[in-house]
Subunit: 551 residues, 2 copies
């Protein structure tokens, strides 16, 4: 048995069933070993960012890692952005990077580069180059343990070609799974005391705290003690919709987030980090915790959010309080000329049961949360690390993990182009994904940001860097070029029709939603949108917001 064959068996024995791959010559023995392992599915991507993004989306939905297969430092580079998103989302990935044979490195051949230095960016805690065939499977198990660790992470195993092809491979038994522990009693009691003492308190839920058991516990606390519930801005996976407790996400824009958090005296983190501004802006604070607010940590990402919240429920005598649950409620069918908001409305109107919703719509999906709040229960996956180009690959992975669930991915035109190759894998694997692309011919968010950072003198050359006209992308043709059924819609009616068709015909579809730019660079125009998307905003806060962001 060669190294690759032993590795393949070791991965499969540990429950790793899918490898998202874009191989080259140095990975040929790993590829050849696929046929002897019926438990391993190999999903080919035309670009490494698709493979890594798919591994991210897969693990979010499967709750276990997939493997990747990348080709040396350059392949890892191409896959880095979506591994970054996985890292920030605490998503487990067993990232396998082929390398030259150990003895070949000295010759500095064309593809030779320092792979480890690149890998450290996304795998700060586990980068290992396996140096002997006999040890390879053991290294793989260590990588699996690291990936599935507390919390999940990207573990990078570098696999030299001769270690792969060498004889003497020894499969290694699977690692035991680790158990998350709940918060310490003293921590629970201290937080319970703070909440009992009164003062405005909120729970900030992230990671696993956005799954049903944790949400229900948090909602009991909200009901019993008036604690506000917030979700982190970009959840890895959030369960939501009718029948689940509704939770408002912290806004992307610091100006809005400050309004949401204003007046808080206690902010309790549950598998979440303390809120900070996405970017820095001249003269503005990066730390979004209001002055005078104490930040408590109930559960770190290495702890069990649900059982920690249950302990807090017990400590606060809320076990018998019924949580407030979201009522089933859908927006009406949109009419007239299409806009980004109407796309979101149509998604809310038509969302099927048990969908997986992927949101990389950037400015175009500001209304998505409000429009789908009472839709049938679904999972929401978002852009955890801010590295755009995550949505389409993530949809590939989610669909592979959950073949019986419809995946609906809402993607901006700019973001779609980073990893547009994902469409081909959707077609090849016949995945049940409907990709909705908002074509507004703009890096719309940057028009807002150009203003927000105070670079107001932006002239024609500057503006041209944020503009996607000349030529306007034709996503319908791009999809057809990769074998994906596609339709273009510029009216609400044609959009609904295309979406209904896609939902009725499982398999990959792309709908190009031609929409006007929803944000033309002026914050003033943004305001009504954000007010609608934050329905729980008290009147005073709304006024303050108006003064702040659109004086």
């Amino acid at each position: 048995m060669n190294g690759a064959q032993a590795l393949m068996k070791t991965l499969a024995d540990a429950g790793i069933e899918v490898c998202f791959s874009n191989p080259g010559t140095s990975e040929m023995h790993f590829v050849a070993a696929l046929d002897a392992e019926p438990r391993m599915r190999a999903v080919l991507a035309l670009f490494e960012g698709v493979a890594t993004g798919a591994a991210d989306g897969y693990a979010r939905m499967a709750d276990k890692p997939a493997a990747t297969l990348l080709h040396l430092g350059c392949g890892l580079g191409n896959g880095l952005a979506n591994l970054h998103n996985a890292r920030k989302g605490k998503v487990p990935v067993v990232n396998i990077v082929g390398d030259h044979a150990t003895y070949h490195a000295q010759y500095d051949a064309q593809l030779q580069s320092d792979i480890e230095t690149v890998a450290r960016n996304v795998s700060p805690n586990f980068v290992r180059t396996s140096t002997t065939t006999a040890q390879l499977s053991r290294d793989a198990v260590d990588a699996i343990v690291a990936a599935r660790g507390l919390p999940g992470q990207v573990a990078t195993l570098i696999l030299p070609a001769d270690v792969s092809w060498g004889e003497g491979g020894v499969p290694c038994p699977p690692p035991e799974s680790m158990q998350l522990e709940a918060a310490d009693d003293t921590v629970v009691q201290s937080i319970a005391a703070a909440i009992r003492a009164g003062g405005k308190a909120a729970l900030l839920l992230g990671g696993r705290a956005l799954r049903e058991p944790a949400l229900l516990a948090a909602a009991r606390l909200a009901q019993a003690h008036g604690v506000q519930l917030f979700a982190e801005t970009f959840p890895t996976r959030m369960e939501r919709g009718a029948g689940l407790p509704p939770v408002e996400r912290i806004a992307y824009m610091a100006e809005l987030a400050s309004v949401q958090l204003a007046g808080l005296q206690h902010l309790v983190l549950v598998d979440a980090k303390s809120p900070v501004s996405f970017f820095a802006y001249p003269g503005k604070k990066s730390d979004l915790v209001p002055e005078g607010c104490t930040v408590h940590t109930l559960a770190t990402p290495a702890q069990d959010a649900a059982s920690s919240l249950e302990k807090l429920v017990q400590a606060l005598d809320a076990a018998n309080t019924a949580p407030a649950l979201q009522e089933a409620q859908r927006p009406s069918r949109p009419r007239g000329r299409l806009s980004a908001a109407k796309v979101c409305k149509a998604v809310g109107h038509l969302l099927p049961d048990n969908a997986i919703l992927i949101d990389e719509g950037i400015t175009s999906t500001l209304m998505l949360a409000a429009m789908t709040a009472g839709a049938p229960r679904h999972d929401l996956l978002t852009l955890t690390g801010g590295a755009i180009g995550q949505g389409l690959p993530s949809a590939v992975g989610a669909a592979v993990a959950c073949p019986d669930r419809p995946v609906i991915a809402l993607i901006g035109d700019g973001t779609a182009m980073y990893t547009i190759q994902a469409l081909w894998t959707m077609a090849r694997e016949n995945l049940d994904v409907t990709a909705i692309i908002f074509n507004n011919a703009s890096y719309s968010v940057l028009n807002v940001e150009l203003d927000r950072v105070g670079a107001e003198q932006g002239g024609a050359k500057a503006k041209s860097q944020l503009d996607l006209h000349g030529p306007v992308l034709d996503f319908t043709r791009l999809a057809q070029g990769m074998g994906v059924h596609a339709a273009r819609a510029d009216s609400a009616r044609s959009f609904c029709k295309a979406f209904e068709y896609a939902l009725a015909h499982p398999g990959p579809h792309l709908i190009e939603a031609v929409v006007p730019e929803s944000i033309s660079g002026a914050r003033r125009k943004l305001l009504p949108w954000v007010l609608k998307s934050l329905p729980n905003l008290p009147e005073g806060a709304a006024r303050a917001l108006k003064r702040k962001i659109a004086p």
Copy 2:
């Protein structure tokens, strides 16, 4: 003047006239500074790999660096593969990577990552995070000096947002240009003595040694002393065609390269590295220098190849020897069903004057060198670092550098998909590029490699990882989706017609050449091709080759 404005002036003063960009929020001040600097052209890419590949192609043709503008660690990751190609090709690039404001790093926001660790992979000698606005322009000049250094390299300047937006920017005067020096007399004399002493000798020309002055000097030596001339396998830029000395490239396949180099007693490196196998293969040597052959270095990449060769010409009394020059000679117009070889033949038949030819055709362009050998003089750019996805971006950069020269890029279908977004930039900038995509629906080279690495048990699952069927890509639609005129050809006649149309209508064109897979996995089928592509192979060597690669 803020930091970004001072930086922009400093870059322009130093002769950096183009910035290939894919910016985000942290780069908005740099973007805003574009309008105040008329000497700087900003070329937007939809994906960072296009920006970096364009910077590579630009510098190869302009003989000076462009700047890139990338967005944090993820943007750098996306651009890494083509920076790797630039690094391996010793191509100067001033790689500017925006970062969070210095004080924002501590908050570990979504896009926060260790940029320097990624950058080290491609910029081992110059990675600097600029930490103060006052120092920024000085840091930029240091980066320019490093990039233009001896030899050229990728210098990465990391630009925090607050350093960019801070007031107190001070432009810095341009650095002086450095002069390359010729080889030492003792080295020249020692090599001259070795050549005079007889025995089979060859010059291996790389880097700048593949430009006309060096080629002419080398060809005098060939004529006067029977020295063989070889070019490195993947030249950064090679001047060739009618009127220039013909030089045979070392073959990609080690089996072939061994035949080319067999019997050599002296191998003289001129701005080239000693030949090694591209990949390692079980049981095969990586070092391709034949036993008993002495390797001499006439000029390192830090030295001047042309003047070093001139010194050797003087030392060997060859100054008055007329070099053998390639005769003008074109293949006939191909007929019948299209094949990869016929595409190469058509390119040779029709190649316009003064073209820039980009070869990323992998298995499909085996015949390109032979078919264009006597075509009008042109520059050839190749895949220096082996990181595929270089050809289309490189064409963007070459066309920006040389707006009056037609750029013809021959690209494999697999490779084209890594950076297909380059087509949009070609359309937007109305670049005179004809992209010829060989659509054989296969990672054809991997079918050869699967066999070469000895992984012969490849079954259906393994083979599926090398296969691009299901669906077959439609490059005509992909091009149209990005605003590029496109045509599909499956006969030699329709290909010639499409190519003639493209050449007659300057601007971007894509021709999808539908070809059968030229290599079906059996080396036997490869043999006639490689024999034709190595016309100078003696009969004995051809027999040896047949025994070796197709027993």
